[in-house]
Amino acid sequence: MAKYRAWLGVILALTIAAVVIITQIPTRLGLDLRGGSQLTIQVQPTEAIPTITEREMEAVQTVVEGRVNGLGVSEAVVQQLGNNQLLVQLPGVSDPEQAERVLGGTAQLEFRAQRPGTDQQLAIENQVLQAHLGELAALQASLPDGTAIDAETQARIERLQADIKASETAIAGLFEPSTLGGDKLTDAIARPTGGTLWEVVIQFNNEGGNEFAEISKAIAGTGRTIGIFLDNRLLSAPTVNVQYAETGITGGSAVISGNFTAESARDLEIQLRGGALPLPVEVVENRTVGPTLGRDSIQRSLYAGLAGLALVLVFMVVYYRLPGALADLALIIYALLTWAAFNLLGVTLTLPGIAGFILSIGMAVDANVLIFERTREELRSNKTLYRSVESGFFRAFSSILDGNVTTLISCLALFYFGAGLVKGFALTLGIGVLISMFTALTCTRTLMFLAISLPQFRRPSLFCPGLDTVRPNPVRP
């Protein structure tokens, strides 16, 4: 029995840990439950770029990320999907139409000369912009993960967003319009200068080289800058040295140096390359759920599922008596452990995910049913209580294993090939099945053996009704 006491300790410790995890780490809710937009963006090949490679996807992703940041949605996610698609998740987005418009379309990269006499203004506007950006970043960092944002915070974010937009427009107004766009930029490469500093080399085509020479000639030595804009947002504003005042920077190539670290140089490189890509992107899928709608559907389905489970728990006690009650306890432990595992692994719970969870509880019940039915059979064939319970577990094992492995095979196939909601379902069902193997075989087993170690529980009628007359007192093992 010492073995089972030790196991009881382990189970208790795990359960307490699970409760702590559930209260400490919030559950991540999917967009279908908390409201928000999920967009799939497809990158379209053009005549100039007929195949889209990893390098191009990286650049497009950077452009899209920049646009998403411009939307000011906290916890937005941009990730690559397959060879030519991006998945964008915008939790709690208030204006899905605006989001879709901003995210679609080709990137706009421009090199524009600063207007004369705007130095001070530029410095001030820049300071204002940085202050707003800092405030927004701090606000978003302070928000807890995966929870809905209250209306007040939402309004604050939107106000800051509008301020940032205004600053950006003001800054853009300080630069001359230009025809030197991303289509004339052929490449951008970040490279170290020898020390710890980095620089970015940019390369134009013929036409672009000439235009760049003119712009740089006009501002060389004046202290004014060349503004590099991506989607109307200023990326970088380098000055041009006085030695180029005669001819401008010729040869179609230039070096942007300054206080670049390896990381910031690489950022600029990818942004420039993304801006140089004339690849149109199209929103091919939009799934938007209003925040109230999500809340309603989670509540209805959750209550329904819980009501069904309550019935299952009652059934177990009525039909299987003492083992049923112990199995119920094990099921509750199972539910806690699985929930904690979701939070710990950062699984995003979607509505089908909750369905998968509820189904996995069904699987967990099945394992117990198999064991108890087997125990009853052994009792009916006149074995002692201890032996019956023992062989109930032993003989049911291969059925439980085979059944769970086949379900896991389905989960793997779904997870590997499925997308979005389908993946969420497969993940929750799979985690559930794995944990249910543990709880059915360990928790129920431990509780059962500890129970039959107590004399008052050692009556076969508690296990199988109508058996008392056959075997009044079990023999000790």
Binding site: V283, G305, V312, I361, F397, L414
Partner: protein
């Protein structure tokens, strides 16, 4: 209760055969109507679905049910006559419109026109699903691929743990369950216009997982009985294996179907038909495991001359797995 599986096998096969046949006929009719065995939903066919809810916090806004004629007029003005419409909700205040795939501008125009004619709507309860044709194709292909791969995986695993004939017959039973579930949804599609989406493929895969579980439990018992009684006829072995596991089969179906029935009756819109598909599939799965997979195994063993467990492999003790 004792079931005579083998004795009445003609009856069991007739029931299964009739159900599968009816399913195939329903899918064939559906093919003629929709060009697909099941009515394809938004996920597979592509298109845009808008679900708009009237803002009932505004006085007098929700006085009467949404007037479909008014909605049709708006759609006509936008050149979207062929769209399908539905009014949902307890008070008929929710409008669901399915159109061809609209881009963001067309959609916004439609939304504001509707808002003016029959709104205002509550923007926080709006649902938009817009699926381009590329994505629809992608979802369908990936779903079917997942189904095929899991079939193959299950055959491989069962051949390893049991023998090839068990595995093939188990898959036959699975195909039966999947066909009946699909058949019921083909009929629902023809009669009630129920469409299938990617969740339906998920439900088929779950049915596969669960129903093979049912079959495995019975086959596991057959294997055990063969070992314990090498001299018995396969018919008796199968009969007693099914009856020994019968209360387990019934109880497990009951405990898994109970929460699903609750979700079907009381759950949210999204999961309603998902739960229904699972209920049908699980019931078909239990039936095929108890009545079809078992009797087919007996028939097969008899036909290949192994009615008396002539296979030395099987009579030899299996490697026991320790708990």
């Amino acid at each position: 209760m004792k079931l005579n599986i083998i004795q009445q096998r003609g009856l069991w096969w007739a029931i299964s055969g009739a159900l599968v046949l009816a399913s195939l006929v329903a899918m064939a009719i559906s093919w003629q109507q929709f060009g697909a065995p099941l009515k394809p939903g938004l996920d597979f066919a592509g298109g845009t679905r808008l679900q708009l809810t009237r803002a009932c916090t505004i006085t007098d806004n929700c006085g009467e049910a949404i007037d479909l004629a008014g909605v049709r007029q708006v759609l006509g003005q936008q050149g979207l006559d062929s769209s399908s419409l539905q009014v949902l909700g307890d008070d008929q205040q929710v409008l669901s419109i399915r159109t061809r795939n609209l881009d963001v501008d067309e959609r916004t125009t439609l939304q504001s026109a509707l808002d003016e004619a029959i709104g205002p709507f509550d923007t926080s309860s709006t649902q938009i699903d817009s699926v381009g044709p590329v994505i629809g194709q992608q979802l369908l292909v990936s779903g079917l691929l997942a189904l095929l791969v899991s079939f193959a995986g299950i055959v491989a695993y069962l051949s390893l743990r049991f023998k090839l004939d068990y595995a093939v017959l188990a898959i036959l039973a699975l195909a039966h369950d999947v066909a009946i579930t699909a058949g019921v949804f083909a009929i629902l599609g023809l009669v009630l216009g129920v469409e299938v989406d990617s969740l339906f493929i998920v439900s088929l895969l779950t049915i596969v997982g669960f129903s093979v579980n049912d079959t495995v439990v019975i086959y596991d018992r057959v294997r055990e009985n063969l070992k314990l009684n090498p001299g018995s006829h396969i018919n008796d072995i199968v009969d007693s294996a099914v009856n020994q596991t019968l209360s387990r089969s019934i109880n497990t179906s009951l405990t898994t179907v109970l929460p699903l029935v609750a979700i079907f009756i009381f759950g949210g819109q999204t999961l309603k038909y998902f739960a229904l598909a699972l209920i049908i599939g699980f019931l078909a799965g239990s039936y095929s495991s108890i009545f079809v997979a078992s009797s087919l195994l007996a028939l097969w063993r008899e036909r290949i001359g192994q009615a008396y467990s002539g296979d030395p492999d099987e009579a030899a003790p299996q490697p026991e797995t320790q708990i």
